[in-house]
Symmetry: C2
Subunit: 340 residues, 2 copies
């Protein structure tokens, strides 16, 4: 690639060595069988989501999404004019029922590795069921694998893209978590039959560029710095996670609260009894400088989910050790209002 090309827009799906690095990574770590040609570098998951919504569905088409849901996806689908159909999540992930099939999906959006925000890990059986169901309705599946780099316990599960046999899964990843959010580089893996149309649309609608940044990242990966950064990040997040779990232990007495989703990622969910006003609790914690999010704020339709989404991507180990016990104390005080 010559100098002027590096300063121009890219119609090829991104800087080739970066696409190769992504393909190598996904083949090895996510068991996704893919050609480098299927990788499209985007400016992150929001752009990937929007491109998928624009390309795979028409205005008014139905998208299934998890309830509770990742609000970035909710916004992207709303902006694209799709009809949002919330599907409840249980401990095995997205759990569509016959009632849901009355609103057949054109697109299914899911976070199987670590459901956002509950943290449920989709079981292998559920993954296969979901793919079969997608085939029945001839629907596309968007697999948002936003934090799979950080898996702390539990068995490894193949990605949906790895299980896909009929080219209907699109896989979304990002460099936000290992490096930093403002980097604004992510990737989208599309089935072979969609490669041409997606690259053209990505060029037409987004005019992708940032080739010097892509080249720097490719070199960063090739020289092994990315692997080191990932290793350091894993260690650091594992320590924070451990400290957070220890701090929250007092809340788990009497089984009135449970922790879900701690196996992976940069957040966990502290599930609370249905009567808890989790928004008020989050507000009270915020007054103490402790920023957590109420689970109910992520719910689209269901009213049976209360809890706190506690992230440890931003908080330092010292923060967690200092504020964690205080947070637990305030949660325990709230829990005492409820019968055992």
């Amino acid at each position: 690639m010559t100098y002027p090309d590096m300063l121009d827009y890219s119609s090829s799906g991104g800087y080739a060595p970066l696409r190769r690095a992504v393909a190598d990574y996904l083949r090895v770590f996510r068991s996704v069988p893919l050609d480098v040609d299927q990788v499209i570098i985007t400016s992150g998951t929001q752009q990937s989501l929007e491109l998928c919504a624009q390309m795979l569905a028409d205005h008014g088409d139905t998208v299934w999404l998890e309830d509770p849901a990742y609000w970035g996806a909710v916004k992207a689908f709303m902006a694209t004019g799709l009809h949002l159909h919330p599907v409840p999540v249980d401990q095995h992930g997205m759990a569509p029922s016959a009632a849901d099939e009355a609103a057949p999906p054109r697109v299914i959006y899911t976070t199987p590795s670590h459901q956002y925000p509950t943290g449920a890990v989709m079981s292998l059986q559920r993954r296969q069921q979901l793919l079969a169901l997608a085939a029945t309705h001839n629907a596309w599946v968007l697999e948002d694998d936003y934090d799979s780099e950080f898996r702390f316990s539990g068995p490894p599960l193949s990605s949906l893209a790895g299980l896909d046999r009929d080219e209907r899964v699109l896989y979304l990843g990002s460099f936000s978590k290992v490096l930093y959010p403002g980097l604004k580089l992510g990737y989208l893996v599309v089935p072979k039959r969609l490669v041409g149309a997606f690259k053209q649309a990505h060029y037409d609608l987004n005019r992708p560029g940032q080739m010097p940044l892509q080249a720097a990242l490719a070199e960063f990966i090739e020289l092994g710095h990315f692997a080191s950064a990932l290793r350091r990040a894993r260690q650091s997040y594992a320590q924070r996670r451990q400290a957070l779990l220890e701090a929250l232990t007092p809340c788990l007495i009497d089984a009135k609260a449970q922790i879900t989703g701690a196996e992976q990622g940069l957040h966990l969910c502290l599930r609370l009894p249905n009567g808890v006003d989790d928004r008020a609790l989050a507000d009270t914690l915020a007054q103490q400088g402790i920023l957590v999010r109420p689970l109910s704020a992520y719910c689209l339709q269901r009213t049976d989910s209360r809890g706190l989404i506690i992230g440890y991507g931003y908080a330092t180990l010292e923060d967690i050790q200092r504020y964690g016990p205080e947070m637990a104390k305030m949660v325990c005080a709230e829990l005492r209002k409820f019968p055992v």
Copy 2:
């Protein structure tokens, strides 16, 4: 702004010193009276256009756009599900008639400084008419001022945003032309009443970042390097433009062809008789390594526009001196087929 914030998404509309630099530039050079708060840094004009389409109109709403039109805008509006209503362009720019008002616009998209692609400069009278018409229909006006940094001749004209008295013009600019396209930084100036909603939506839908790049650009501007780059670019483009005009002179004999839009920007339009197959002519030129675009390819509805859009942003002075006369020869050969 502290170190971790620089690596995060930005909810404030972008790096403050860069927004200040843009505001200062627009006040002085484009006569736009604005607060720095009204400036939102985007990843370029495509993102600005899409955000405007998403925020200002609903699916199926009518957008007026120029015919012939900038195809990047066409794609953005199509992807957002707007109804495209083409309005013919004459030598004074976008020229709506009573017939157009039968399809009242929710949004009007226009390139008044240098109509893309014909190069028509919108007259002051037409600007005032367009704003009055927008007021009548309570429509928003998107002013895409994509190349106003390069004005070589003709009187300076106030931007629509500078003439706007009732907060309905949104102004779109980009750093692509002075620096390089792949930089992916542009700006959107919104009326005060829209600032809050646009910043929130920009954050929700696009998760803007790239703060280190924004900081570097802000410093580049503050230290005067941008002004130098602009000066050098102006000189360079002025030379290329002059060489191109000289090369094309033989085509203008007999007045069968005219040059329009050479006062400004990085391209001009060589208008040809209606009977010329401009696509075939562009194909023939491409076989000689001369890349120009047929004017008819930009037309949405009208069939009376033939010509060549000849850009000199990519071609070097040497390229133009070498290939320009050859291009003129081939155009002249085509013109000889038509009676004087």
